[in-house]
C-alpha cells in the first residue's frame, strides 16, 4: 500500500490566533487503507489541526489537497462534502432519536416527501452490521446504548455521508478496554475497505496497536511523520517532548538522598481511581517528603492530584490520613486537613485579577476562618508584607492589582495564599509554567526549604529536570496509569524517560 498516493495532503499549514501561533508549517498526509495517528502533548496543536480539517477554523497559509486536487474548506458542511467525516470525543448525536434516525437525519429516504421508516431502519441495520459488525436494534432511542455504541453510530453516520477520510478525535478516552478492542476491530475493517483514518490519541499503547503511520506535533510545529513500526517508544516520547536522549545530562539533585527517616505518612491513597481520568493507584506521601509526578501532558497527573485534593470525586478507592481517618473528601475537608492545591490554570482557577496582591494573599485564610472572623486590615497588611518579603514578590506593594504582576510573581502570590493556611501537604501543579528562570529557581528553592521544615509536597511538572531537582521520590504516569515509582540512585532522566515511554 505504501506505493499509493496520499488521498489527503496538507502542506505547510499555518494558523495563528491573536498572540499565539497555533500551527506553524504543519504537514499531514493521509493514505487510503491506513490508520494514521496524530500524536502530541496537550496543546501541541492536534485539536487545531483537526478543526482546520473539518472547517471549524480556516487556515492562514498552506494547501489542502484531496486526491490531488486543491480544495478549500470553510465550513463543516464543505468538509463533509469533500469526503471528510469526523467523530468527536463527545458524541454529537441526538440521544432522544432512534439509532436509525441518528444515522440518517437530514438525509432520510423519502417518497413524495414522506419518510420511509422501514427503508431507513433496514439501511441503518445494514450499515451497522456490514461495515461495523454491530447488531443492535436500530429502532431504540440512542440514549439506551452505552457511549461506545453511540460512538459506533456516529461512525456509521460518518460513513454513510460519503467518507473517504474518517477523523476519530480521542475516540477511546471514555471507553473501557473491551470497548476499545471493539473499536479497533472496526477500524481495522474500515482500513481494509480502503478508508483513510486519522486517529487522534494520547495513549501510546493504543497508537502502537492500531496505527500504520504517525505524525507528531509539538507546540504547533511539525516534528515529523514516521512509520509506527520503525519508531521506538522512547524516540516517540523524546520527539513529543522535544529532547535528544544523548543530551539528557544528569543534573545533581538538589534534594538530599532519599531517606527512610521521613516522618509519618501524611496521606495514603489506596486504589484511588476515576473513570477516564486515572486508573486505580496507590500512593503514600510522608511528612517532609517531596513526591514528583512525571509523565506526558495528559497522562493523568493533574487528575491524580485533583483526587488528592477532593476536587473530583473518585470512582473507587480511598484516602487514609494520620490517625486512621479515611474516606473521600471535598476540597473544604481537604483544606481542613491542611492540604493545599495550587492549580495549573493560574489565570482561571487561581488569581482574581481585579483584586490586590493583599486581597489575593488573604483569600484562602479568610475562607478557612469563615466570614464571621474577619481579619482586620492591620492583620491583613502585616501578613501581606511578611509574605511579599519572604517570597520576594515584586513590586513589593500589597495594594497593586495582581493582574498587573508578571506570571512568576502571580505564582508567588498564589503560593503565599496557601502557605498562609500552614498546609501540611501542598499539591503544586505546574507551579513554574510560563515564568522566568529566576522565579523558577526561587520557587524550587522554596519547595526544598519548606520540605526540610516538614511540609510535604506533591510536585507536578512537565520539566523533567525540575522534577528531578526537587523530588525525593518520583512517580511516573503513562496513559492514565501509575507505572513506576523511582527513588534513590535510580532517579535520572534516562530511567524516567524509559518509564514514560514504557513497553
Amino acid at each position: 500500500m505504501s506505493a499509493q498516493e496520499p488521498i489527503l495532503q496538507m502542506t505547510k499549514i499555518h494558523k495563528r490566533f491573536p498572540g499565539v501561533k497555533a500551527l506553524c508549517d504543519v504537514d499531514l498526509r493521509l493514505y487510503p487503507g491506513e490508520v494514521h495517528a496524530l500524536m502530541g502533548e496537550n496543546g501541541a496543536g492536534k485539536s487545531t489541526l483537526i478543526k482546520v480539517l473539518t472547517g471549524v477554523y480556516s487556515i492562514d497559509e498552506g494547501k489542502v489537497e484531496m486526491e490531488g486536487i486543491s480544495i478549500s474548506i470553510n465550513s463543516p458542511l464543505e468538509s463533509q462534502a469533500a469526503g471528510i467525516s469526523t467523530v468527536y470525543q463527545e458524541v454529537n448525536l441526538c440521544p432522544n432519536l432512534t439509532v436509525a434516525e441518528n444515522i440518517f437525519i437530514g438525509r432520510e429516504p423519502r417518497r413524495f416527501g414522506r419518510i420511509l421508516w422501514k427503508e431507513m431502519n433496514r439501511r441503518a441495520a445494514e450499515i451497522l452490521s456490514e461495515r461495523l459488525n454491530v447488531q443492535i436494534d436500530v429502532t431504540e432511542p440512542l440514549r439506551m446504548y452505552s457511549v461506545a455504541v453511540q460512538q459506533l453510530v456516529a461512525i456509521a453516520r460518518a460513513l454513510d455521508i460519503s467518507a473517504k477520510v474518517l477523523i476519530l478525535d480521542e475516540p477511546t478516552s471514555s471507553l473501557d478496554q473491551n470497548e476499545v478492542q471493539q473499536l479497533f476491530r472496526i477500524m481495522r475493517k474500515l482500513k481494509q475497505d480502503g478508508l483513510a483514518i486519522l486517529f487522534v490519541t494520547h495513549f501510546l499503547d493504543q497508537m502502537y496497536e492500531i496505527s500504520d503511520r504517525v505524525t507528531i506535533l509539538r507546540n504547533g510545529e511539525f516534528v515529523g511523520e514516521y512509520m509506527a513500526k520503525d519508531l521506538s517508544r522512547l524516540d516517540l516520547v523524546l520527539k513529543m517532548i522535544g529532547k535528544e536522549l544523548s543530551l539528557l545530562e544528569d543534573l545533581p539533585s538538589l534534594a538530599e538522598d532519599y531517606k527512610d527517616s521521613f516522618g509519618e505518612v501524611m496521606v495514603k491513597a489506596e486504589n484511588l481511581s476515576r473513570k477516564g481520568a486515572i486508573e486505580p493507584f496507590d500512593l503514600s506521601i510522608r511528612k517532609g517528603e517531596v513526591v514528583g509526578l512525571a509523565g506526558l501532558l495528559g497522562s493523568g497527573r493533574t487528575e491524580a492530584a485533583r483526587l488528592f485534593f477532593g476536587a473530583d470525586k473518585p470512582d473507587s478507592g480511598k484516602l487514609i490520613f494520620p490517625g486512621g481517618s479515611e474516606g473521600v473528601h471535598t476540597p473544604r475537608e481537604a483544606i481542613k486537613r491542611r492540604i493545599a492545591f495550587c492549580s495549573e490554570n493560574r489565570k482561571t482557577e487561581g488569581i482574581i485579577g481585579d483584586l490586590t496582591v493583599r486581597e489575593n494573599i488573604i483569600l484562602a485564610l479568610q475562607a478557612k476562618q469563615g466570614v464571621f472572623r474577619t481579619l482586620s486590615r492591620k492583620q491583613q497588611d502585616e501578613v501581606a508584607v511578611e509574605y511579599i518579603r519572604m517570597l520576594n514578590i515584586n513590586p513589593p506593594n500589597p495594594d497593586h492589582l495582581i493582574k498587573n504582576l508578571s506570571g512568576g510573581n502571580q505564582q508567588k502570590v498564589l503560593l503565599a495564599r496557601w502557605l498562609l493556611t500552614a498546609p501540611q501537604l501542598f499539591i503544586l501543579d505546574e507551579p513554574t509554567r510560563g515564568i522566568d528562570i529566576g522565579a523558577k529557581a526561587e520557587i524550587q528553592k522554596l519547595v526544598l526549604s519548606l520540605s526540610r521544615q516538614g511540609m510535604s509536597f506533591l510536585f507536578i511538572s512537565s520539566e523533567l529536570e525540575e522534577v528531578l531537582r526537587v523530588s525525593d521520590r518520583i512517580v511516573v504516569l503513562r496513559d492514565h496509569c501509575k507505572v513506576k515509582e523511582i527513588s534513590d540512585k535510580d532517579m535520572n532522566q534516562q530511567n524516567i524517560m524509559q518509564a514514560i515511554a514504557g513497553g
Binding site: C94, E108, I115
Partner: protein, 322 residues
C-alpha cells in the same frame, strides 16, 4: 414482544382516558354514549388545536406562553372586523390566521437570532397580544353575522344519531395532519432532533434556524385557528377570553406524555391529553354537586403523576444496555 419503553407514557395516557371513560360510564346513566365522546371534541376543539401547536414547540425544547392571548386577540380582531367594520368572514378568517402565523414567526426569529429564552419572549408576546385586545375594545363584541352563527349551529349527524360540530372536525383534521407531520416529514423529525440537542443538530447540518422559527410560526397559526374556532363557540370577541389558557394547553401536552425538556413525546398523546381534561370536566358536570374547580385539582394531581412517571422512566432509561 415486550412494550418498547418509549411508548410507555403514551400508553399510560390512553389507558387513563379509557379507565376514566369506563368509570364514568358505570357511575352515571347516560354517560356511555357516542355523543358524550363527541361532546368532548366539540367542547375542546380549540384546546386541541392549540395543544397541537404547543406540542411542536415543547418537542423542540421551547415553550409558548402567548397562545391564550393570541386566541383572545383572534376573537377580538374577528369580531371587530366582521361586526364593526362589516368585512366578509372569508377575508377576515385568512387574515386572522396570517396574523397569528406572523406573530409566531416574529417571536421565533427573536428567540433564535438573539438567543433569548422562549419563556421570556413568549411572555412578552402574551402581554402584548392581550394588551392589543383592549386597543380594539374594552367590551365584549357580540357577533351576529350569519356565517358565524351558521357555523356555530351546524350539527353534522353521524350514523347512530349522534352529531359533531364543524369546529370539532377542523380540530380532528389539524391533529391528523400534525401526527403525519411529526412522524413522516423532515420538518417533524428536525423538531425532535432540535429538542434532543440543538448543538448536535447544528453539527449534523440540520436547518436549526428554519426549524425553530417554523415551530413558533406553527404555534401562532394554531392558536389563531383556535381563536377562530373559539369565536364560533362563543360568538363574541372579548379581551378576557381564554385567560390562563396557555397553562391548560401545556398541561394537556404534558399529560399527553411529552417531556417538557423537549425531544420526547407524540402528538397523539396530546390528543388524549386534551380528551382527559375534557372527560374530567364531563364527570364533574355529571356529578352535579361538585364545583368546576375540581377540574383544576384533578388536572393538578395528574400533572404531578405524569411528571413523576417521566422522571422514573427516564431514570431507568439511563441504565444502559450494551
Amino acid at each position: 414482544m415486550s412494550l418498547n419503553r418509549k411508548y410507555i407514557p403514551i400508553v399510560v395516557t390512553i389507558l387513563l382516558f379509557i379507565i376514566m371513560f369506563v368509570a364514568g360510564s358505570f357511575r352515571y346513566t347516560g354517560f356511555f354514549s357516542l355523543q358524550v365522546l363527541m361532546n368532548l371534541l366539540i367542547d375542546n376543539a380549540f384546546l386541541l388545536i392549540t395543544a397541537v401547536g404547543m406540542s411542536f414547540v415543547i418537542l423542540s425544547g421551547g415553550i409558548d406562553l402567548s397562545v391564550g392571548s393570541m386566541i383572545a386577540l383572534s376573537t377580538m380582531v374577528s369580531a371587530s372586523l366582521v361586526q364593526q367594520h362589516g368585512w366578509p368572514p372569508v377575508v377576515v378568517i385568512p387574515l386572522v390566521l396570517l396574523m397569528g402565523a406572523a406573530f409566531g414567526s416574529g417571536m421565533g426569529a427573536i428567540i433564535h437570532y438573539f438567543k433569548i429564552q422562549p419563556f421570556i419572549v413568549t411572555l412578552a408576546g402574551m402581554f402584548m397580544a392581550r394588551g392589543l385586545c383592549y386597543v380594539i375594545s374594552i367590551d365584549t363584541i357580540t357577533i351576529d353575522n350569519s356565517f358565524y352563527t351558521a357555523v356555530a349551529q351546524t350539527k353534522i349527524t353521524l350514523p347512530g344519531g349522534s352529531f359533531i360540530s364543524i369546529s370539532a372536525i377542523i380540530a380532528l383534521i389539524v391533529a391528523a395532519v400534525a401526527i403525519y407531520t411529526a412522524h413522516y416529514t423532515r420538518f417533524g423529525r428536525n423538531v425532535y432532533a432540535l429538542g434532543g440537542s440543538e448543538q448536535s443538530s447544528l453539527l449534523m447540518g440540520l436547518p436549526v434556524a428554519r426549524t425553530k422559527i417554523m415551530v413558533y410560526t406553527l404555534s401562532g397559526l394554531c392558536s389563531a385557528l383556535a381563536g377562530v374556532v373559539f369565536t364560533f363557540y362563543m360568538l363574541s370577541g372579548y379581551g378576557l377570553h381564554a385567560v390562563g389558557f396557555e397553562l391548560d394547553t401545556i398541561a394537556a401536552v404534558v399529560i399527553g406524555g411529552t417531556l417538557l425538556t423537549g425531544g420526547v413525546g407524540y402528538v397523539l398523546g396530546t390528543f388524549f391529553g386534551v380528551l382527559i381534561q375534557g372527560v374530567i370536566q364531563t364527570i364533574i358536570s355529571f356529578e352535579g354537586t361538585l364545583s368546576s374547580w375540581w377540574t383544576k385539582i384533578v388536572i393538578g394531581l395528574l400533572l404531578f403523576i405524569f411528571i413523576l412517571l417521566q422522571r422514573v422512566l427516564s431514570a431507568r432509561g439511563s441504565s444502559l444496555k450494551r
